[in-house]
Symmetry: C2
Subunit: 482 residues, 2 copies
């Protein structure tokens, strides 16, 4: 231990402070930000006005105090035409952090407009993982041009990342980390870190590896700081650690970080060698993306990013509208088959959308629950049957409730017979909807397809067709259309 | 600096290892887990069988090697009736980590079944934030009973957390953190940490505070480890830090962690005093929950957790089905108004669901995109008009595409006139759907309502009614129903 003065306890506050009364309007104190911590429209307009007047100094003065993440937001908030002049006005504020925080589409757009040397210049100041993100967007030719501009070390690191498939740990991991042998003492480690030149700027844990560079344990930095210098790392480290295979898909990586509450983790290659690390701040974006995309996928909105070019948004959405035309066609054919009945009793045409619509709604509810449970690994082969049974019971309760309401109303307005027919049809359709809402996404999942993507079309087709068929079929079978 | 031996460089590996070829089947090596890192059905069944036979030792032997997070999963995967016997068989494996990882409903269920002393016993081994989660589920009376069992220090900490509203930073933060004065040197800090008794088990940064206990800066542990002992913290720390107001809602906290790529952050009360810290591993669950819940809310599935009791699932879902009945009723009234036209031309009844269904689908797509953009703070007052205009252009492209397809098909099967009518109606309805898909969620957001919750009902009502009205109205107006 050192002979320097030991601190008195009162110099140090290990707080366990009681909660004082706080007001809800206690927010971040910045006149540029609104209450949701986004840039105020007045501020964005001031920047746009300065850009229009060509007053680069005014633009710079406005943007300079912003956090890099807010500068990135600013690029997304101004119109497309203002982005290049804005970048030109604030070149030396365009740090790696700004680039890393930019929306994918906006970044791609800006990078494509820049010459290869300029992209390389930006890539050089980024961490490898951020540089990879920048370069993977470019087409093959531009990629090669940018790589040629980089120095050898950066180029090799980026090429080795690009050798892994997109959205795998190998592509996303950082190649800068600290790995030391088990025999090293805490004191040696601290001296080494103080001395170290090629260290990453920030790191959250130190990996302990054997002579083959295989991870054998991990040390949180707080453990190192609390341990006397003479203790070897082998006595401080935790041997039991979560290793991430480099080929693991980012969705599984995100689930592992969540499940095991990881802050950072070692990435190992096929032979078990430590090749990189992932930290939770990179994973946070993936978690949010993966959790949020299911709503977009289920609605058939593709990527669903508001910065996506219109042509891409059109092409991903129209595909699902056309697929839905197919399901609507099936429904129409069923209705056409009952054309004579509808001609005789126009009330059938008035009521039939209710049966289909409520069925569709019930199916979507169950489907959303199922897709989410699959995505979070809560629904597995162990409990599928139990969840199906659970959803069918919920569906039966829902079906009987809405059937009673609609049945009674129909009986009063039209005839009791028609009320009975619609009530029975609705109960049947909602129970079918509940089953389809579980079985369709589970089937897609077992076939290794994303359950969020195509389930909607099938569930809607089933509930629409069955709704019309059950209602019109029961109406004819019961003889009320005589 | 210390006089201990400096390490040779080859003893330390600062890896920049190239990617080796890796196989996609390179996964976590555990015969209990399947390829998605969830417990295999065979393992779950083995535990259930052992429980049925009452063989507690066999149960213990099976569960003992599992990670706490997997033990928590196991509780969720076995049937409700098996949970109490399982807990009884593995009492000494029921660590705080297991409890913290349990699904809310499963935990609530288990806690309600336990006597207050047992809950208090579990709460005592948890960190304050996890203990709060355990206790906030209980009803008032049980809460008091458990609090009475706790020792004074834990009780005060938990009560101070419970004084903050649910889902705020004050409720969720950890009350254990390290705060030190600016004048302290790196060496003093390391000695203090080595000596410290009341330190948190793990921490990711050291907060520097002034004499009023207001944060003035923050030090990543890696900076401390790399800095010579004699340097004061004031020269190492970053002065610019993101402070989280204790009253901030968890959704905003999650967005701040994402936006500024935070690992941990200081929580301050109304007067600016440091009262706690939040670390990203706690926020990860919130990010995933908040991002994932929009799909559930939009479908009207409420919490949408597969562990939610059936009665609660029924009551949250049936509410939206009944609300949807209202929208279906409006559609039915519109159809009824055109009853005479349908009687004359039954093709109208056959085709009308196509117009409504495609409109509904297009509206849901735009709504999903808008809700996500609002949730991620991408859509703000600065760009609402631009996004509306963007979505209307996408809608026009989509509308014209599907209108052409359906119009031509209708012209061939029925009459060219009917083809023209349905094409025009579909174009109108898809454009209306696109506008409603933006305007409805934006309106809810401006009224401080969650845009994901009620938008669906309104968007569907608009697209259904307008679909039927445009199609049937144009058919009558064009004189084809003569």
């Amino acid at each position: 231990m050192s002979d320097e003065t030991r601190l008195e306890d009162e110099d140090v506050m290990l707080a366990d402070a009681p909660a004082e009364e706080a007001r809800p309007d206690d927010r971040i104190d910045d006149e540029r930000m609104d209450e949701e911590n986004t840039l105020k429209p007045e501020f964005v307009r001031a920047v746009e006005d300065a850009l229009e007047e060509g007053d680069e100094q005014a633009v710079y003065d406005l943007v300079e105090p912003l956090h890099p993440a807010d500068i990135a937001d600013l690029f997304e908030l101004v119109t497309k035409d203002d982005r290049a002049p804005l970048a030109a006005a604030i070149t030396d504020l365009m740090s790696g952090d700004v680039i890393a925080e930019l929306n994918d589409y906006v970044r791609e757009d800006m990078m494509e407009a820049l010459p290869a040397e300029a992209v390389a210049q930006i890539a050089e100041q980024l961490d490898t993982d951020d540089a990879v993100q920048l370069i993977e967007d470019l087409d093959e030719e531009d990629q090669q041009a940018v790589l040629a501009e980089l120095d050898a070390e950066d180029r090799i690191a980026i090429q080795s990342a690009l050798a892994y498939p997109e959205e795998t740990a190998g592509r996303l991991m950082s190649r800068e980390f600290v790995a030391v042998p088990e025999a090293m003492t805490v004191g040696d480690l601290i001296d080494f870190l103080r001395d170290g030149r090629d260290l990453p700027a920030e790191f959250l844990e130190v990996f302990v590896v054997d002579e083959r560079h295989h991870p054998v344990g991990t040390c949180q930095l707080s453990w190192i700081l609390r341990t006397p210098r003479s203790i070897p790392l082998g006595d401080v480290m935790k041997r039991d650690q979560t290793l991430i295979p480099a080929m693991l898909d980012q969705e599984e990586v995100a689930l592992m970080f969540q499940k095991y509450a990881l802050i950072s983790a070692a990435v190992v290659d096929d032979s078990g060698r430590l090749v990189g690390q992932m930290t939770v701040d990179d994973v946070v974006h993936i978690i949010s993306e993966e959790a949020g995309e299911d709503a977009l996928l289920m609605s058939g909105a593709g990527e669903g990013d508001i910065n996506e070019p219109i042509r891409e948004a059109y092409s991903s959405r129209v595909r699902w509208l056309v697929a839905n035309l197919g399901t609507a066609l099936v429904a129409s054919l069923i209705i056409a088959a009952f054309g004579a009945a509808i001609e005789k009793l126009v009330a059938l045409a008035v009521l039939m959308p209710i049966v289909a619509s409520i069925g569709g709604n019930a199916g979507t509810q169950t489907m959303a629950v199922t897709v989410r449970a699959i995505a979070t690994n809560q629904l597995t082969r162990s409990n599928t049957r139990r969840i199906l049974w659970r959803e069918m019971r919920v569906a039966l309760l829902n079906g009987v409730t809405v059937a009673l309401l609609v049945g009674v109303a129909t009986a009063l307005i039209f005839t009791p017979q028609l009320g009975a027919v619609i009530a029975l049809a609705m109960t049947i359709n909602v129970v079918i909807a509940g089953s389809a809402g579980v079985l369709v996404p589970v089937a897609f999942d077992r076939l290794d397809q994303d359950p969020a993507v195509a389930s909607s079309v099938f569930v809607t087709m089933i509930t629409d067709s069955m709704g019309f068929f059950a209602f019109l079929g029961l109406a004819v079978a019961s003889g009320i259309v005589a």
